[in-house]
Every structure is written in C-alpha cells, then in structure tokens.
C-alpha cells in the first residue's frame, strides 16, 4: 500500500496520525479511500474533480501535472504540498476564491 | 501633427537624411525612423547605457540626444561596428567569453567598449569597470564582459 503523509493542517481529521497506508492505484482512489477512513479529508484536498488549486501532489518527491488521474505504485510515498504560484506552474495556482463569494 | 525637421548626418559612414520631430531622440530616430533597432531602450533617461552610440567620436546615450541635434554630425551605432571582413574583436571576444546572456545590453556594451578602446587601447580592469559603469547588465554579473573587453584590448594591440 502507498504511504500518504498527512499535512499537519489535516491531522486534526486523522486523529493526529502523520502517515497512513492507503490502497489505491491512482491519486483519486487514494483520496477516496482516505475519505472513507477520515471523513472530511477529501473536501480539503479536492474541489469538484480537481485537486484544489493551491495544493500539489508529490509522488515520491515528484510533482505531477496529472492530478487525480496520476498512477500510484504500491511502494509510493504521497505528499500534499503547496502548489507554487506565479509561473513555476504556468499560472498562479494559489489564487482561489469560492464562487459563492462572488461580488454583487 | 507637429512639424518635422529635415536632418542630414553621417550614420555608420554613410550620408543619411531623415525627417523627425524635435522631440524625437536619436534613439527614436534610429529605431523608428531609420529602422536600426540594434540600439535598445532600457530606461530612456541615461541610466542604463543600452542605447549607447558614438557621436563625433564621443560616447553618448542616444536617448538623451535629440535627432535634430545630429545635423551635420557623425553617428556610429552597433550596426556600424563590424566590417565587411568580419566581426570587430570586441564582438568576437564577447562571443568567445560568453559575455552575453539575454543580449539586450550587449550592443550598448560593445559600442561603449569600442569608444574606450579607441581612446585607451590598454585599459586596466579598473578603467574598464569605471568606463562601463553607465552600462547596466542584469544577467552576467559583468565578470565575462570585463574579461572580453580586456581580451579584445590585447587582440587589438596584437593587430596594431
């Protein structure tokens, strides 16, 4: 099973657990399985069908553009790290405002 | 439209004439009127040297000279540095020393360095640094530029 390192800001949802072994062949499956064990985690990581814009997924240290579709190996380590904004990715990724907060 | 003035001058060894408004700088005339875009605008107020040209043998910032002032005078730009036989030693040494990265400041540096070597063929490192202090480069840290100029000075010396 892949090992998911739980970001410190989510550890309140995992009863303080820092790393969790989770089944899944893709990042999406991993997050779904994580959600099954620790309800609320998915909402913090995923917005609709995409990883939230200010978060990047690193598999064994490499950040991939494939998001939820990315393959995960049994031996993989998964980290959720801040997405880099302002051009290291091609657009500022840390910019997110909820649609509900739209200005009148 | 403001009235344009007819100006005749020598540019890189050739007689040219052009029309310009009094408010147009030599830099604008070169780039927008005469189509010589080798001289660059970096600051348009005499603080970066990217527009360096030689006016009657004297190094100047072409952004701080009006086109109308060049009447009857001689201007040398980066386009006039190489000869039909090949590159000027400064140009060759800039290439060999990798003395350029983005290249936007390079024409100004080569024109300014030529003005230096014309006046002082054997400059010290300090003299090169002092002379070129009005030419900003943000890519190289100047190291390779200074080496290229010092090397070109030696080459020119050997030829002379």
């Amino acid at each position: 099973m892949a090992v998911v390192w739980i970001p410190s800001l989510l550890q309140s949802l995992t009863s303080g657990e820092e790393k969790v072994s989770v089944r899944g062949a893709t990042v999406g499956e991993i997050i779904d399985n994580l959600e099954a064990r620790f309800p609320g985690v998915k909402d913090r990581l995923v917005n609709g069908t995409e990883i939230r814009p200010h978060i990047a997924v690193a598999i064994d240290g490499d950040v991939s553009p494939e998001g939820l579709e990315q393959d995960v190996q049994e031996s993989s380590e998964i980290h959720f790290i801040p997405a880099l904004s302002g051009g290291l990715a091609d657009v500022p990724r840390s910019v997110l405002v909820s649609p509900a907060a739209r200005q009148s | 439209m403001p009235t344009k003035v007819h100006v005749q001058m020598r540019l890189n060894g050739e007689e040219v004439d052009f029309l310009c408004e009094p408010r147009q700088s030599v830099l604008e005339v070169l780039r927008d009127v005469l189509g010589l875009t080798g001289s660059k605008e970096g600051c348009n107020n005499g603080n970066c040297g990217a527009c360096s040209v030689i006016l009657d043998g004297v190094l100047v910032n072409s952004c701080c000279v009006l086109g109308v002032e060049t009447s009857g005078r001689e201007v040398t730009t980066i386009e006039g540095i190489a000869s039909p036989d090949g590159l000027h030693p400064l140009q060759q040494k800039f290439l060999e020393h990798a003395a350029l990265q983005c290249g936007i400041c390079t024409p100004g540096f080569i024109v300014a360095a030529k003005a230096l070597l014309d006046k002082n063929p054997h400059p010290t490192e300090h003299q090169v640094r002092y002379w070129l202090a009005g030419n900003l480069c943000r890519c190289t840290g100047y190291d390779k530029i200074i080496r290229a100029v010092l090397d070109a000075a030696q080459t020119t010396e050997a030829k002379a």
Partner: protein, 752 residues
C-alpha cells in the same frame, strides 16, 4: 539509455548559435518588431495605491487627432469571480483580468486603468492626459505585518484566509496559511543547548531585466489573433489570453521575439490583452511598450517579507529544532511565493524537529511575479544568518557547522519528500577546500561570510522536434525562449546523441504554432526538461535513421548499430554509413525525417549552492565594498560550462544588489519614489570584483546526462553571506535587507 560518461560535445564551450545576431544588433527583440500600419499604445495607470474608480471619461482623449481607440476593462469580456482551470493550474479569472485593466478598484500605484492607440507613441501619451478618472481614494496598506492586522484596510471584499482547503469566515488580507511540520519543535528546543531566535524583514525588490515589457498584437477580422512579444513562455501567454479575451486557444498565435531578460518577471500577462483589444478596435497592429517607471510600478516585483526564525542546536554542533514564521507580500492579488520559501528555508539541513508556518498576504503593491528562486532568498537570509550565529556561539567554523548538519540522499525534507542524490555536502567541502576560503583575509573592517541555499527546480513540459537535412546537419525546433544561452545547451545535448558537432545542430525557438506545448523558461527547467526532450527527439531520429540504414542494406533494423556518428551493419562489419550518408539518402528511403519528443520529466534534481564573500565596511559611512566572491554550486552536469558559470555569476550579483542597495522606496501614500535605474540601484561593473565560480558536478540521476537546473539557486545565498560577512567585519548582525549604508551605519552607531 546508456550515455557514455565521456562526452564529445557536452562540457565544451562552443559559440552560441544566436551569438552573432546579438553582438551585431541584428537580433529582433519584442520592441524591435515593425510592421506596416502600426499604431502605438500607451497605458493610463493609477496615481493612487488604493482607490475605487467612480468613473472614467475617455471622450476628450478620443477626440484628439491621431488617436484611434481607447480601451478600459469594459472592453474585455466580463471577468467572473471564479477559478478557471488552465492546463494543470487554476486561476481566478477576475484577478487575472483586473490586474491587466482595473475593474472597480485600483490596488496599487501603477495599476492599469485604460489604454490608448494612436499614430505615434507621443500622441498616445498626450491622449492619456485627457482621460478623466474620478477616484475615491482609500487608505493603502504597504507592509505585510500591518496588512495582517484585524483593522487593516481590506483590499478585496471577498478574500478569506484559506488554510489547506478550509476557509475562515472572516474577510482578511491573508489569502492562505500553509504549514509544514516534522517531529515536535517544542521537545526539540527543550533538548537544545543553545537556541537563537531572530526577526528579519526584506524590502520589495525587482527582477530588473534591462528590456521593458512589450507586446504587439494584430487581431484580424476573422478573429485570428497574433501576438509578438518578449516572454518567458509563449504558450503560457496563449493559455491565459484565451479566457481573458474569451476566444479559443487555437485562434491565438504567440510569436516570441528575443527576450531581454526575465528572471521570472516575464511570465504574467500585462500588455498582451491590451494590445489585442486595441488592435481589435482599430483594425491595425498595435505595439505597446512600457517605460522603465511602468516596469517598476506595474510588473514584478518579488515580495517584501517578514520572517521569524528560531533554531536550536546541541553542544556537539547538531541542529535539533527549527521553527519559522514567514509572511510574504503578494501585492494587490494573492499569490506570493510563500510556498517556495517554506520549501527552501531549512532544506539544506538535517533537522529532526521542524515547524514552518507561511502566510500569503495582499498589500497595495504591484502583484508579485516570480524572481529567480522566488521566495528562497528571503528565507535563506533569515535561516542562514541564524545558522551562522549558532555556529559562532558553538565555536565552530561556519562551513564545518554546515557540513556536520548537511542534508544527504534519503533524508527527509521539511515539506515531506526525501532527498534524491543531492550535492549539498560536496558544495560545502569544495568551499572549504577553495583557494578563497584557505586564503586568510586581512585588513581593517574586513569580514568573510558564507551561506548556503537550496532551490528545488522544476520539470514541467517540453516539446522538441528535429528535422534532418540532406547534408547531415539538423534543425532543432524547440519552444523554450532563450534567455541565457539555452539554444546552445539544448542543441548540444541533441548533438551529443546524434554524434554531430554543436554547430551542425541549428536550434530554432518556434512560436506556439510551430512546436508542441512547452512550458515557460523558468524554474531552472530549460536545459533539464527541453534538453531532455532534445535527447528523446534525437533518439527518435536515430531510431528512424536506423530503419533507413536497414532499408539501404536490406536488413532488419535490429541488425544496425550506431556509435560515433556511424551506422554499422552487424552482419557485415565492413558496411558502414555515416549519419551524413544516411541523411543524403532520405529521399530514396522513405522521404523526409523528423524526430519528435514531448516530455514531462520527473527526476528533477534539486540544486544547492554555497557562497563565500569577503567585504570591507567603511566604519564611518556604513558602505560595504565587495572584495572577493566565490560561488560554489552543484550543477549536476554542466552542458556548456561558460553559460553555467554565467548563471552563477549573474545570480550572485543580483543577490549582491538585493543585499546592499536594491529596494522599493515607498512614500506613505504608497507611491514608489525611486522608479528609475537612477535610484533603484542595481550593481554596476564598478561595484564588483570578478565573481569566481566552482562547479561541483554531482550528476542528477533523473536526467540522461545528469543535468540539474542551475539558474536560480545562485541568488539564494548572497544576502545571508553578506550579512554574515558584515558581522565578521564590524560586529553587527543585520536583520533587514537591503543592508544599505545608512542602515549599516545606524547599527554601527547603535553598537557604539
């Protein structure tokens, strides 16, 4: 693939392919683009740092003879306040659009409001003065800590702090809070024999590229838009323009001209949409150029910051705990490089207990843009100064102290992942063994400082195609704009694979219609990732060339081998065809041959640097003179060593400028008082010695030739190294950058 460790092309220093054009003035940069019927655009910018726009009246400007069009944000499609996906990233469309032309609010002095197209740039400028804007001026907030206060003026009506997917309910200037945690810092500090805590501030600084931003647009009546400009990423411009203008990507062609420096600052959209809508309105091509003041006031910069660092070590010289509180100014819209700063601050070290909290905060300054290892220099200034002080208190040589705590392969980074093969240790050892460090420094008020830095580098996506010519030379088509010799470093990698000379590969930077998708020249990725694509494309060429050779010999391709530029028939050892021989027969063996590769390589190797600086402080004026400087860096494998050295020297000098004199000087109304190269003081040739370089080559296992990105990490150590050297020279610990003469003098006088 099995690349030989002894290279024929890699590691040599050929003259760059675009060199002659650039030393003769013939290279065409964005501002050099000329075309018939060209109109000139100028942009009206806010004189206020923070204001509501009540009304804009353009009628008098439009009435000026020679003025052809005026545009405001009303000429862009309505910018919805929602996140849109662009490839692998999301962006708030309203923020993106309103930074180009302000909506109802201006958020910094220089914020664009309207633009004019006229028959001459002077006329366009005259017309700007005729546009009447009515403002409701609001109090600005210019400092990150003030902006974080509960009673600070709010820039956005709808911004709430996001903390890993969770929104607070309170409106705030704090856009995000991020945290990294390893072990337990409280327990760590309890075990420490010595703990040092310091606060650091850094001023806003600019990338300072010599070429101002530019864009020329032609919007045809059929909706096809072409942009000519200097940009670090033509495809990035294309992708962002599409939603801003509300047209499909395929209708936009971005043609990158030569680019006069970027350092991260020429990635965001600024002038492109303005030139586009002016062209649409006038039916003419429109060129818009910024002047230097506009560049300072409306583009870049990199954030001012507040950083608090606490580190603890044991008596035996081991770092045991480290904590950082980091707040970065994002400018008018969210998106500072706080995450990158957090990823770099303690990464050179193996520390069992780490806690890092980072905040992205909006202030009334231009929206920040990346600047060479964005966020990392601020971070290293803080951490490396505290490391220096710990080493001093422990009585250890600063490099030996770093050596004792250096991160190595397999150790865990504070942000979680483990280090692959890295060369930090090797840079410290090389610094220790350098002539510079072994030469005693003597004289009054002189000091030697060292500091290290880390930058993770990025990979992203690149495309390359290689066309084989009939004479055996090849044309390499790539999509990475060449800011500092990457045509050469990419072509050399293809040449190595193909057994050609560097000069036999002609590299061309194509536009968005001429090559597959390609991410920006940034993140130190170009020689790594576009080089990777060039290697793959070259192998594709060889596969196809092998088939052609097999066809000539009427054998199976697997019976053809290639080496040293020669194809051999395994069955008939006498039969050999050179690359040129096969190229000459392409027409008879199946037609033209193009090799292609598109890559999104993993295995990006992080980069470490250790710098040594000797300086002298004038004790009566506080002015610092750099006497000697050596930059040591793990460069993986230097493809073209001259340009690797150039990156190290250039990065070091930008860092020196940052450390000593560069800063945005703001009035209390939020106006930058020094928006010129006269008073924004970048180093001149007279301010510097030669910059020595030591290239340490620890090959990156993630790249066929071992390439690591080299461009960014050299800007990380200098500020801290200089602060540490100033301490050695005159005994004052500098906690603010820039360490300008007045500030150093103040500290010297305060010390007494």
């Amino acid at each position: 693939m099995a690349e030989s460790a002894t290279y024929k092309v890699i590691g040599t220093r050929p003259i760059r392919h675009d060199g002659v054009d650039k030393v003769t003035g013939r290279a065409i940069y964005g501002a050099d683009v000329q075309m018939a019927g060209l109109l000139h655009g100028k942009v009206l910018r806010s004189p206020h740092a923070h204001a509501r726009i009540r009304s804009i009246d353009v009628s008098r400007a439009l009435a000026l003879p020679g003025v052809k069009a005026v545009v405001t944000s009303a000429d862009l499609p309505p910018a919805e306040d929602r996140t849109i996906q662009l490839g692998e990233g999301g962006v708030n469309l309203k923020y993106l659009s309103h930074n180009i032309l302000a909506g109802d609010k201006v958020l910094y002095k220089g914020h664009p409001i309207a633009a004019v197209a006229a028959t001459s740039p002077h006329l366009a400028e005259e017309a700007l003065a005729l546009i009447q804007v009515e403002y409701e001026v609001l109090p600005p907030v210019l400092d990150v800590r003030e902006a974080m206060q509960d009673d600070a003026p709010l820039l956005h009506d709808n911004l709430k702090t996001t903390s890993l997917g969770q929104d607070t309910d309170k409106q705030s200037n704090i856009a995000t809070h991020t945290q990294f945690k390893v072990g337990d810092v409280e327990k760590g500090f309890a075990k420490a024999d010595i703990v040092i805590e310091r606060e650091f501030t850094t001023a806003t600084v600019h990338q300072g590229y010599i070429e101002p931003h530019n864009a020329t647009a032609m919007w045809n009546p059929d909706g096809q838009l072409t942009i000519w400009e200097s940009t670090q990423g033509a495809f990035t411009v294309q992708r962002q323009l599409a939603p801003v203008l509300g047209i499909p990507v395929a209708q936009i062609r971005v043609i990158p001209a030569e680019i006069g420096g970027g350092f991260g600052g020429k990635i965001n959209l600024y002038l492109e949409p303005i030139a586009a809508v002016l062209s649409k309105k006038t039916g003419h091509p429109v060129k818009v150029l910024m002047n230097r003041a506009e560049v300072f006031e409306s583009t870049g910069p990199t954030p001012g910051s507040y950083i608090r660092v606490k580190m603890g070590a044991t008596k035996d010289g081991r770092l045991i705990a480290a904590q950082a509180y980091m707040a970065y100014e994002a400018g008018g819209y969210p998106g500072s490089p706080i995450g990158a700063g957090m990823m770099c601050i303690f990464t050179p070290y193996d520390i069992p207990n780490v806690l890092i909290d980072g905040f992205d905060v909006v202030v009334n300054k231009p929206k920040t843009a990346p600047y060479r290892a964005p966020g990392a220099t601020n971070a290293a200034f803080a951490a490396e100064t505290v490391v220096d002080e710990l080493g001093e208190k422990l009585g250890l040589d600063p490099l030996q102290f770093r050596l004792r705590n250096a991160a190595k392969e397999g150790m865990r980074r504070p942000d979680g992942p483990t280090h692959p093969r890295i060369g930090y240790l090797e840079t410290v050892q090389a610094a220790l063994n350098s002539d510079h460090y072994r030469t005693p420094l003597e004289g009054p008020n002189v000091g030697r400082g060292v500091a290290s830095g880390y930058w993770f580098n990025v990979g992203l996506q690149s495309s390359v195609s290689i066309n084989v010519n009939a004479d055996g030379s090849v044309t390499l088509v790539e999509g990475s704009t060449d800011i500092g010799g990457t045509r050469a470093s990419i072509a050399m990698q293809a040449a190595e694979v193909l057994g050609l000379k560097a000069e036999e590969v002609r590299p061309i930077v194509a536009d968005t219609a001429g090559v597959g998708y390609n991410d920006v020249t940034g993140g130190s990725r170009t020689t790594f990732a576009s080089g990777y694509a060039a290697i793959e494309a070259a192998h594709d060429v060889l596969r196809q060339m092998t088939e052609r050779a097999a066809r000539i010999w009427k054998i199976e391709p697997q019976d053809v081998s290639f080496g040293d530029g020669v194809f051999r028939n395994a069955k008939e050892p006498d039969q050999r065809l050179t690359f040129k021989d096969v190229a000459a027969q392409l027409g008879r063996t199946g037609g033209p041959l193009t090799g292609r590769a598109t890559v999104a390589p993993r295995g990006v190797g992080g980069a470490f640097a250790t710098h040594i600086v000797d300086l002298q402080v004038d004790p009566e004026t506080g002015k610092v003179t750099i006497l000697r400087y050596t930059a040591v860096q793990d460069v993986g494998k230097a493809i073209h060593p001259s340009y690797v050295e150039g990156q190290m020297q250039g990065g070091a000098v930008q860092g020196i400028g940052w450390a000593l004199n560069e800063e945005y000087f703001y009035t209390d109304k939020g106006v930058m008082a020094n928006a010129s190269f006269l008073d924004y003081r970048m180093p001149t040739s007279l301010d510097l010695p030669m910059i020595d370089t030591i290239l340490v080559e620890v090959p990156n296992p993630g790249h066929p030739f071992g390439v690591r990105g080299v461009g960014e990490v050299p800007i990380v150590p200098p500020v801290a190294a200089i602060a540490n050297a100033i301490y050695r020279a005159v005994g004052v610990r500098m906690c603010h950058s820039p360490m300008s003469p007045g500030l150093v003098m103040t500290e010297i006088l305060a010390k007494g």
